[in-house]
Symmetry: C2
Subunit: 151 residues, 2 copies
DNA sequence: GTCATTGCAAAGCATTTGCAAGTCG
DNA sequence: CGACTTGCAAATGCTTTGCAATGAC
């Protein structure tokens, strides 16, 4: 058993929650998949597929990037991870708050933080009415410099 | 001279405005660049680089995709076009409202519409205060089905 | 005449896919 | 055991880059 440095409060619980949901959906729990899951939930904030691959590779040197991507696909389909897509640079993932919510993105170092302010949550209903679209979700990113990069 | 079908109100003015700004910045006005500019402003809503390339190719068969991308780079640097990046599918461009504003994106056909509602414009100042980031801009996309695709 | 711009082709990058071998339940 | 997973390598898709030739000013 491998215990990694800074554990997150409630991380174990969230991992088990996801494991349960995957089982319900008839998915198998392979060591690789479990490792990706843990890296995703316990690891730093909003990791990329590459970062997950690096972390898991430490324990499973045979791991391939494709497996990370396939695991992420499975989790996306189960609604257990939020995928933040970027054209410039790798996508970033959040398995701790898998529902849409606003983020701040540092345009210099790539750091991403959640913005916790319900007032910012856009009204999907209003937009539906105004545009005639059947709005299902949204994405709200703020761009700027994080405290470290702003100096 | 080539006159294309559905002209946009004020399109000519916007084209001239951009031409002027480019000149101020010391840029040359080549036929290719001018054609991309017109396609961008007069054409359908939120075209992709590929679509711009197609349109301009009708009049300039020697046109290369690289030139479209380079023109878009120039316009981005001048702040005269808003680039909407997508990982799945090509980026989309808006030269009519080059400042950040909310969009609705059809997840089926790719149609994109502007959302005109100032109440939705997120408060960059508030987010800066809350996160410690120096927030410079934002992106707000709503995802769903457009009226046609919703049936 | 100069130097920005063009156009071609090759490279880049993250991600996806095909498929044979492996393994979870 | 059988169907789901893995891992490798090749393919994908959009965009960027290098560089010689071209042409706007």
């Amino acid at each position: 058993m491998t215990t990694h440095s800074p554990q997150k409060p409630g991380a174990a619980g969230r991992v088990q929650e996801i494991v349960g949901r995957l089982r319900e959906r008839g998915h198998r729990l392979t060591p690789q998949r479990y490792a990706v899951l843990r890296a995703l939930v316990e690891g730093g904030e909003h990791p990329s597929a590459e970062q997950l691959f690096q972390r898991v590779s430490e324990d499973y040197p045979m791991m391939s990037p494709a497996t990370v991507y396939k695991t992420l696909d499975t989790l996306k389909a189960a609604g257990e991870v939020l995928e933040l897509e970027f054209r410039d640079g790798p996508n970033r993932y959040d398995a701790n708050m898998p529902h849409a919510h606003p983020h701040v993105v540092c345009t210099r170092c790539g750091r991403i933080d959640d913005v916790m302010d319900e007032r910012l949550d856009p009204s999907v209903v209003e937009v539906s009415a105004q545009t005639g679209y059947q709005v299902r979700g949204y994405r709200l990113d703020f761009y700027g410099l994080c405290p470290s990069c702003a100096g």
